[in-house]
């Protein structure tokens, strides 16, 4: 249908700027991560850069902090998925019903999304402050004793999960809402005539009809959860006792703060491959029956 097979080389000119930038800031860095990962490259002593074979890769599996960071991100992913996506679906169902004050509710649920992660992280640091924080103040009203939150290795990651879900649910609510509004009313009317109660209608009409939307939200939440870095970076610096250290943050700390580019690159490669595998699986799932034409 397009271009009719006539070679028109001027097309190169149009794709060139984009390709050059991608080459510089995505493709070359990607290749660099492989080549650095086999060296002991340290930015402070670049002259001593040597080929060290698989040493860095072997060391990652013996590095308790890196292993801990993988465990932490698994914990984050496993909990954020049902909490955030479940909350988003629940909120969408609430605002999908016509009731007084609906616009106010919709704006309220969406409001945290408008705030940047940096602001969210700083704000919640004050709210979760164990000594003079707002949340312990509120809990005090209900005679619940003060909680350590971010200062406790047990609670810190859950606090970050809660904050992240609070921030992110509103956006997904909007997408669920769009999905809900695409379900034809006639389906519900027919079910009502057949005597289906509201729970049965939800189970047999709403959920199946929402499946494509749900799959898209679940898979994108899943992949983006792996990139968790700003919240621990600002709220806990990965602590206490590395309880909130995430792979991206640890790679940043090792490669940028500690200047061990070789070792950090090996972790970049390992973690990058983990994400790539999950992303490909995600695309396989969401494109099943889809129309991606490459």
């Amino acid at each position: 249908m397009q271009t009719k097979g006539i070679k028109r080389q001027i097309g190169w000119l149009y794709v060139l700027p984009a390709i050059l930038i991608l080459l510089t800031f995505l493709i070359i860095p990607f290749l660099m991560s492989f080549s650095y990962s086999f060296t002991n490259y340290n930015i402070l002593t670049p002259w001593a850069k040597q080929y060290v074979g698989f040493t860095n890769y072997i060391n990652t599996f013996k590095d308790p902090v890196f292993l801990q960071s993988l465990k932490n991100i698994a914990q984050f992913v496993i909990f954020i998925m049902p909490i955030q996506v479940g909350a988003a679906l629940g909120l969408a169902l609430i605002v999908n019903k016509k009731r007084p004050g609906n616009t106010f509710f919709k704006i309220s649920f969406f409001a945290p999304q408008v705030v940047s992660l940096t602001v969210v992280s700083i704000l919640w640091m004050y709210i979760l402050n164990p000594d003079q924080g707002l949340l312990n103040g509120i809990l005090g009203i209900f005679h619940i004793k003060p909680q350590p939150f971010l200062t406790s290795p047990k609670q810190a990651m859950f606090a970050i999960i809660g904050v992240s879900a609070w921030q992110g649910a509103g956006y997904q609510m909007l997408i669920f809402l769009a999905g809900l509004q695409n379900i034809p009313d006639s389906l519900y009317e027919a079910a009502e005539l057949d005597g289906a109660n509201s729970w049965q209608r939800f189970l047999h009409i709403t959920l199946p009809m929402l499946k494509p939307t749900s799959m898209m939200i679940l898979t994108t939440t899943f992949i983006s959860a792996f990139n968790l870095v700003i919240q621990p970076m600002i709220m806990t610096q990965g602590g206490p006792q590395n309880a909130t250290m995430t792979p991206i943050y640890y790679i940043y700390r090792t490669g940028f703060t500690d200047r061990q580019l070789g070792y950090a690159s090996a972790m970049s490669v390992i973690y990058g491959i983990i994400i790539i595998i999950f992303t490909i699986i995600q695309r396989k799932i969401t494109n099943a029956g889809g129309d991606e034409n490459a």
């Binding site: 249908m1 991608l22 609430i94 940096t118 700083i122 990139n227 490669g255 970049s268």
Partner: protein, 285 residues
């Protein structure tokens, strides 16, 4: 019948109350942020466990004090302008560069197009966040560290946005562009005067997502900028939050200030946001 009505009304009131409580759960941190910026720090702590935590100071003259102080202590206006400049540059750059690439892929059969487009699709799965330190090495090598270019350039090109533009342009029949060509319009004229206006929703989606992404970016500008005069707001506020003396009301003031522009963007461009869902978590910054 009468009994049924009252029961139904009771049910409506009951659910409305529950939903209002839920709404307050989502709102209370933000309300607290704003009102805390409108009272002296000592009052924030004094009010922490009663309802006054959610009210600004009783004296209206207190409301602006933290804002005056924060503008006094830090070049806040400069940070705002920096952020506006970075985000606007990324937005314009992203629309132009990605749309041009989408145009090239959609309407020109150049040698290597298939291969290049395949590569682009492959790039969609590469997670940019794992490559921050290598990207930093590149920025250092080409000598753009501590310049606005370092903040702007990596955010301009995104495989996902190119893909979006390419699909949008491919949907426009060739007959339209060919007719313009017969009238003697140049390729760039066709792109600018015909194709871009016909794909305004895509332009708006890419523009909005690029603006928000750049405005909220934190780790990358933190890495490539060392001079605080060049900081965007997101980096500046963490800096302010760790520069002694830290006053909570002033921190809340700067948090509030940095949120206002995004509120405006969301109000005006909200409908374009849900269309870019698939971009989350990919290689683009």
């Amino acid at each position: 019948m009468h009994k049924f009505m009252t029961r139904r009304r009771f049910h409506v009131i009951w659910t409305t109350v529950l939903i209002t409580i839920l709404a307050l759960f989502f709102l209370f941190p933000l309300v607290w942020m704003i009102v805390s910026s409108m009272k002296p720090e000592s009052q924030i702590y004094a009010n922490i466990s009663n309802f006054k935590a959610f009210l600004p100071s009783g004296h209206i003259s207190d409301w602006g004090k933290a804002y005056v102080s924060i503008f006094h202590r830090f070049p806040v206006m400069r940070y705002i302008l920096n952020s506006v400049f970075y985000a606007t540059s990324v937005t314009i750059g992203s629309i132009v560069v990605n749309a041009l690439a989408g145009y090239g892929f959609a309407k020109f059969n150049f040698t290597g197009r298939k291969l290049l487009f395949g590569l682009l699709i492959a790039l969609l799965v590469i997670p940019g966040t794992t490559l921050l330190i290598q990207q930093f090495q590149i920025a250092k090598t080409i000598g753009i560290l501590n310049t606005p270019l370092a903040v702007i350039l990596p955010g301009i090109s995104s495989p996902f946005y190119i893909y979006m533009f390419r699909n949008a342009f491919a949907a426009i029949p060739d007959s339209i562009t060919e007719a313009a060509e017969l009238d003697g319009a140049s390729n760039l004229r066709i792109f600018w005067n015909i194709l871009l206006p016909m794909t305004l929703p895509t332009v708006a989606t890419v523009g909005t997502l690029s603006f928000i992404g750049s405005w909220n970016d934190y780790v990358w500008p933190l890495m490539v900028l060392t001079n605080s005069d060049q900081f965007p707001l997101q980096v500046a506020i963490t800096n302010i939050n760790s520069t002694n003396p830290v006053y909570m009301n002033q921190v809340m003031a700067i948090l509030t200030i940095s949120t206002v522009p995004l509120v405006l963007v969301y109000i005006f461009f909200q409908k374009y946001l849900t269309q870019g869902m698939g971009s989350a978590g990919n290689g683009d910054k």
